[in-house]
Amino acid sequence: MELVAIFVSAILINNFVLYYFLGICPFLGVSKKISSALSMGLAVTFVMTITAVVSWAINHWILIPHKLDYLQIVSFILVIASLVQLVEMFIRKMSPPLYQALGIYLPLITTNCSIMFLALLAALRNYSLAEAVAFGVGSGLGFTLAIILMAGIREQLDLADVPEPLKGAGIALIVAGIMALAFMGFIGMIK
């Protein structure tokens, strides 16, 4: 039950994008088309899941036993950076069109704060391995949900008469604001 609660809460209630404001750059940058939003979301989910496992392992087997928790930031970022680079190379080799679509945003997963935040928060809340994984997958799916919804809305807004200065990031942020409002309805569902 605890695991389900962590999972659902990460998707709907404490959504990384709409509640914690994490991963805003890719959220705005890669949400112009549903297809690329979906791949971005899945890429993030994938990296998040691996990060949850690896950072848990580092934290529990290396840092905590040796009281090196002040090295969290440096070691986590190192793990994430390498992981992302691996994923990037992998996608580039396997699916060049996907690589073209994600463009410069793949390296930005490195600087996607949501992944770092995930590792830190899992460490802070002292999650067990299973909890960390549930949290990682949930957060990733929450990000995917938010970015796909956003992409759908933006594709429809491409056919709308949005005022010139608001086109692009402006209207996207306003939509995100209203989405955050709508997601607030789930508050209190899981304590």
Binding site: H66, V74, L78, L86, F90, K93
Partner: protein, 269 residues
């Protein structure tokens, strides 16, 4: 001892991941000719597609592969051609500076309307249902070409016809494609005389529809028979180079002003 642990930990971690990366780099490398990047950066990045490729990068790839000519970018002009040629180590082909001109003088005043047009305000849409002007060949005045121009080289003049700003025109050909009636044509910048009409209607009927239509009277072709002919009720310049400068005043006697010097208007006012 305290200091050793962190150093060791971080060192070990770094080593592990760098090894992984090195391995991946070797295994998953994708080769790309660095020239593509180099050329692509020098291109105008207008992504106008005038070269026939999907954007500047695609053109760069094609040039490197040898599929496109070094002078394939009409927008960049000689500078870009030279650069590409240098980058690829071949000699540059010669580009002639061209400018797009409108072949119609059916102004608001001259060309009559068919009726009140209720529809989408673009030339193409109007053309689909026959056009809002009586003349089936002339300009429709909705400015599809102006919207298509990526270089701000066109604007709608007060008389209802699009006007080309010569200094800004790069001969990318966007307006040629945009005009549903093919009224634009690219001419070498040196060409001074063009025919300002494309109406193939008989003189009598085209005259009724538009005051400035070519009525195929033949004055121009009599002045320069080897350069200008009348074909399909329309004057046609076969070879501009054969027009002798001293014959120009005679050509300009055209009763409907449908052939003449491009810059006449400009010089007058």
């Amino acid at each position: 001892m305290d200091i050793l642990w962190p150093v060791f930990t971080m060192g070990a971690l770094s080593l592990l991941f760098s090894l992984g990366l090195v391995f991946a780099y070797k295994k998953l490398k994708v080769y790309e000719d660095p020239k593509i990047e180099q050329i692509s950066e020098f291109l105008p990045q207008a992504n106008c597609g005038a070269c026939g490729y999907a954007g500047c990068r695609a053109f760069a790839e094609a040039v490197v592969k040898g599929e496109a000519a070094t002078s394939g970018c009409p927008v960049g002009g000689e500078e870009v051609t030279q650069y590409i040629a240098d980058a690829l180590g071949v000699t540059a082909e010669k580009v002639i500076k061209k400018i797009a001109w409108l072949h119609c003088r059916g102004t608001h005043e001259a060309a009559k309307n068919r009726g009140s047009y209720l529809g989408i305000s673009t030339c193409h849409a109007s053309h689909l249902i026959g056009g809002n002007k009586q003349c089936s060949f002339g300009c429709l005045h909705f400015g599809d070409c102006v919207r298509a121009c990526p270089f701000d080289a066109l604007y709608m003049g007060e008389e209802g016809l699009p006007v080309v700003k010569e200094d800004k025109c790069t001969a990318c050909g966007k307006c040629v494609d945009a005009c549903p009636r093919n009224l634009f044509e690219l001419h070498p910048a040196s060409q001074e005389i063009i025919v300002f009409c494309q109406s193939q209607d008989r003189g009598a009927s085209s005259r009724k529809m538009c005051k400035n239509a070519c009525i195929a009277c033949g004055i121009c072709s009599r002045a320069c028979p080897e350069a200008i002919v009348i074909e399909n009720n329309l004057a046609k310049i076969l070879d501009y180079k054969k027009i002798e400068p001293d014959k120009i005043p005679e050509i300009e006697k055209c009763p409907t002003n449908s052939i003449g010097r491009i810059h006449k208007d400009k010089n007058e006012g």
